[in-house]
Assembly symmetry: C3
Homo-oligomer: 158 residues x 3
Amino acid sequence: MTDKMNLLMFSGEYDKAMAGLILANAAKELDVEVTMFFAFWGLWLVRDPEKISNEDKTMYEKMFSAFSPKGAEDLPLSKMNFSGIGKKLLVDMMDDHHAPHVIHFLKGARKKNVKFYGCKLSLEIMGFKQEELIPELEIVDAKTYLKSALQSNMQLFI
Amino acid sequence: MTDKMNLLMFSGEYDKAMAGLILANAAKELDVEVTMFFAFWGLWLVRDPEKISNEDKTMYEKMFSAFSPKGAEDLPLSKMNFSGIGKKLLVDMMDDHHAPHVIHFLKGARKKNVKFYGCKLSLEIMGFKQEELIPELEIVDAKTYLKSALQSNMQLFI
Amino acid sequence: MTDKMNLLMFSGEYDKAMAGLILANAAKELDVEVTMFFAFWGLWLVRDPEKISNEDKTMYEKMFSAFSPKGAEDLPLSKMNFSGIGKKLLVDMMDDHHAPHVIHFLKGARKKNVKFYGCKLSLEIMGFKQEELIPELEIVDAKTYLKSALQSNMQLFI
């Protein structure tokens, strides 16, 4: 039987997104099946920066969209962000070591057929439309997430 | 054998409380046994706002109590809280979609017989008395949590 | 078969470090095998305050080192830190109840032979040298973490 890993991506921060995506890529290279469920702020990670739209949105949803990071590379750090200066410093340090960025790990995960789930309720509340998110994302409810998580060997809330 | 889910509720934030409680309710509807262990800031979630008391508390404990959110509905957001403005915005967006509040998901979990554990050491350090918390909460130590978690199909630290 | 617990220590905060280390100690007392994988900010927890050095570091790495907490006891709280005042208050409340500090739980975990892994990529990016960290720490990559985590009964991301 194949090993399975299930990650609930909740946080919407650059460093935590990197942690989750590095694990997803490494797991696929070990032939582990990987499911990522993006909920709440985690949805920021799967926004397509080129497909952001205000069509059919309420005033609140437009405000929320304006305050939200524009996709994976625009996420703040969970610590020492210092209005973006700390993040720039960290990304520079990553570049010094030729370490890939979050956007590259996300591309890798998409290419390696990681299963991408998005939380239906979070999408509705935050007013994101499916067309604004990466096309691999399947919109599901909490029960679908749970069934997948319960059948996995490991689950993390990131 | 019944599936089991174990959630360690650590964070004391409105959005993470909602995530944990939505999962707890959904799991019970799938006939999964659910245990929630409230530790540290997570105890804020199970404070009964009508039973807060300063009796038999040290000066430190009174200060700590005064700075603590008054129960589940009073918790801040983990991101974009903006002194409560961001939270109000999010709750309004939830109302637009007729999504229940944290307090409703907490009521649901209590009605569905989710097992509620509270961390003994956290209670002692923070100076909360059992009478100030919801009556379902059983006070246990870390080992009791671990035994329950090790027998579960999935565990999350929220 | 022995039960196994695997903790991914990511956050670098005093309260979350305490949670992880209390669980590690309690698990070992229940004869559970424990592996802790320190990544990103979590590496701050295993810095040896007496072995911090700027030798062979770039300017960025020196800056990063200067902004980083000097070991476990120097970590900030994840909430209510208030530039250290909130943390001092919490530590005083812990002392009132004769509760051990993070540094004591770390010593306990080392004495009880918890397996300590450090994330190779995080070390490289942040510019920490192995000599600056506790000697038990073995430097491994994400795949080594994953293999250990997949063979465990429970995994938490802290």
